[in-house]
Point group: C2
Chain length 492, copies 2
């Protein structure tokens, strides 16, 4: 672990990239804006996927798979409702490469293999899915249709940043169809709650559930629910969204159903998604200047065991004892990595597992063996303790649970300390610059005021929080009446 | 289940499509050659994925993710070794759609948003992965590198067929790098064995392990291992391949490593994959004129329970008893669907679960309740038996195991009956036309003879079998010496 990590206090942006590099999570590829997710990073994403997938199935959803390509004409159908949407995208225009007749060894796009209709690599799948649902839905008995898809999507982003904004990213997208408005709204709320619970219970990342303002809504949505998390630099990160789409897509793609009374109506819809962006959120919620910090519930390795020895005999003796320890830990579903690589020093290994965010490290040397104990270090607080080998598995199990709890409360405390209620625009601007964080402010509900604040401060309305007291007041900018405080912050 | 299934004997091709439709597995999309995998079909694929993923991890592989796009120049690097490879592909040339200034509501590709280098949607990922491995591999300590990717890939196929040949399909692709030739060959063999075991143990599909002839090899491979399965119409289906790539990709992408002695050498490689094509293989191995037949180990639903009642009281009484039955079955990890939908008749439900290949169906009526029994029907043989509710869970558990075994032995028997050893070209041609099946024949080892047979009969060398006795002989066409019989057949 020779490479140094830029301290957070010095350059948060660079620190973020350093963490991704040192923890071996991902890297930029040769394709502009597309990342390679490396095995350790992918293992964390797999853990997220597996928990979320189970939650989707528990709430009645099935997985399916729709084509990666969307014919241009389907976007035209959708654009009627969602003007300005998804213009920057990867467009497939041809279907053949051939050898360049003028330059052997070079390939050219065969001009004769031009598609009659261009295909867009999906930036999101509403268009292809709703044009398919039209064939699947005739009557109320075909509803609700509760489908999720795990897929790659592509958006031609100009400025990219590993995990946070990449041209290609991995995500899941739920697309549901319902007979009534109330049922669709309940679904959108339910899935936003699933995301919130997952973030808090697994990622140890507190989130605020809310509604987007009209200008921040997904194009085509009547209402966008979201979860907003506070990063360590005080900026907001939208960690998931769930859209109530009204009848907009049903109308764009002409999807009607006959209700119980035989009357025809357009179908009500939702869509909801989280992506590999969550990896960025996870990093910026817990990690520190020594490297990644992972909540145990999402960590690919729970415990790293490092032997400390001088002789081969000591190494063998420690190895025997460690086998027992591993067996006891495995019984508790604790994932252990025993690193007895002879080519690396213990100190190097300590730094490596620290950098990779392994929640618990156990060191064991000849003296420990004599005393029937090991040294246990927790990643979150850096605290070390000697623990008897008898009952070690119980100790580690409790410690992992404690770390999970501690990470969440630490993040909650940080968020509390950086949540600021201000009533004047001057105070807002001053504190936003000096301290950052989330601001609970009154806003008059107009896009004009929202635009003005954004233009002048770069802060946006993150959400109209759903679970905070709704105390009326007056807009900090215009003095006009406001029904409730909204959350404003600079955002990723 | 109103739609009829074309009998296999009448039109095997149409029967195949009918099964996919009636079992609700997949359908063609609006995008030429791309399919929609419907929830029930996707659930089967998910089961396959989950078993395979576990086997890959048990054999030391990690998952990762590489970009969907491959810059054209990387193909040029690869083409040096693999001429003629992957020309029909989806080519991204632009990155923006915009409103047509001449026709509001229409979108056009923005001519100003032309990529400086075209991007190909991956048909397979050797090029992008090996150009990445170059950065990851410096010394023998970085080896072996054992990585798998679950992904979508695109090949611009002219004639497509659900699951068997689609423009976009889902697959996994393993890409490994090794310090020695022997280790890479062992890896390629190991993964071919993993595929063979999976096919036999889970899909109940017997396969023949073999080597491809030179002309049937993957472009860029020194040796292609494969598993070949016999479909019910006697045709062969290549169900998986595992390639020993030699140092070809290492040379194309200049991937060298320093060995223990500090000497530089090119890295040795393998790649291996199976795809949603396995869904087609599964269908054509077991299914019949009533619908899909699924091996229990891969079925999304093991048992469908259908109540037979006339009054609401009967329905409630049956429901209570069924709750007990379900609880007992769930304890044994048996997945049950209780279908008490009041809108459909029992006969309709019987036909539906038959069509969907659910291995076991249980029917229960008022008379059964009185006698403390149910009617159990197995999908594979259509046999029905009355079984006491006491001990029903044990009975079903055993029955599912028996069905799994029976499907494999039935398929093995079919294959045995359709495996023909012939020694003359005339006999070969006659029996190929009249009976089909797999032919064990002597071949002189030349591409010329192989081409001649293919041109005259449409049969190809499926493989040089690895686990059959190697008895020498003379080529059925040229009379030249042959070291071992090869397997020839018409193929999907």
């Amino acid at each position: 672990m020779a490479s140094k990590i830029t301290p957070r206090a010095k350059d948060y942006s660079q620190w973020y990239l350093d963490i991704i590099k040192i923890a071996d999570l991902a890297e930029n590829s040769e394709v502009r804006g597309c990342m390679v997710i490396k095995p350790y990073g992918y293992a964390i994403w797999e853990n997220m996927k597996s928990v979320l997938d189970e939650k989707f199935k528990e709430t009645g959803h099935s997985n399916a798979y729709f084509p990666i390509f969307i014919p241009k004409s389907l976007f035209e159908a959708e654009e009627k409702n969602a003007e300005g949407f998804a213009k920057e995208c990867a467009v497939v225009t041809h279907y053949r490469l051939k050898s360049d007749p003028d330059n052997k060894g070079k390939l050219i796009v065969d001009p004769e293999a031009k598609l009659t209709e261009e295909l867009v690599v999906r930036p999101t799948s509403e268009a292809i899915i709703w044009s398919t649902y039209k064939k699947w839905i005739q009557s109320y008995r075909d509803l609700p249709l509760l489908i999720n898809q795990w897929a790659n999507v592509v958006r031609w982003e100009m400025r990219t940043r590993l995990f946070l904004r990449t041209a290609e990213f991995l995500w899941q997208e739920g697309h549901t169809a319902h007979a009534t408005k109330a049922e669709a709204i309940a679904e959108a709320e339910q899935m936003n709650n699933v995301y919130a619970d997952f973030s808090q219970d697994y990622l140890a990342m507190p989130v605020i559930k809310g509604l987007k303002s009209e200008s921040e809504r997904f194009a085509g949505a009547d209402e966008t629910y979201c979860i907003e998390a506070m990063m360590q630099d005080g900026k907001a990160l939208q960690a998931g969204t769930s859209h109530f789409l009204g009848q907009n897509f049903a109308k764009a793609f002409d999807v009607k159903f006959a209700n119980k009374e035989g009357k025809e109506d357009y179908v009500w819809a939702t869509s909801w998604g989280v992506s590999t962006r969550l990896m960025g959120a996870l990093i910026m919620t817990h990690s520190d200047d020594l490297g990644l910090v992972l909540p145990p519930k999402i960590a690919p390795i729970h415990v790293a065991i490092v032997p400390i020895y001088k002789t081969d005999e000591q190494r063998a003796q420690i190895g025997e004892k460690v086998d027992e320890i591993i067996a006891a830990l495995k019984k508790k579903q604790i994932i252990v990595k025993y690193d007895d690589d002879d080519q690396k020093r213990p100190g190097w290994k300590f730094a490596e597992y620290e950098a990779k965010g392994v929640p618990v490290r156990i060191a064991i040397g000849p003296r420990d063996l004599e005393n029937n104990q090991v040294e246990v270090a927790r990643r979150d607080t850096q605290a070390k303790t000697s623990v008897s080998i008898d009952g070690l598995a119980d100790y580690v199990e409790d410690l992992l649970a404690e770390i999970q709890v501690n990470l969440l409360s630490r993040a909650e405390l940080f968020r509390k300390e950086n949540m600021r209620e201000v009533d004047t625009y001057d105070a807002f601007k001053e504190q936003l610059e000096k301290k950052g964080g989330f601001f609970l402010v009154h806003w008059d509900g107009t896009s004009e005021t929202e635009e003005k604040i954004k233009a002048e401060t770069k802060a946006t309305i993150r959400c109209l929080p759903l679970e905070m007291e709704k105390e009326p007041g007056v807009c900090m900018v215009t003095g006009k009446p406001s029904k409730q405080r909204v959350i404003m912050a600079k955002a990723y």
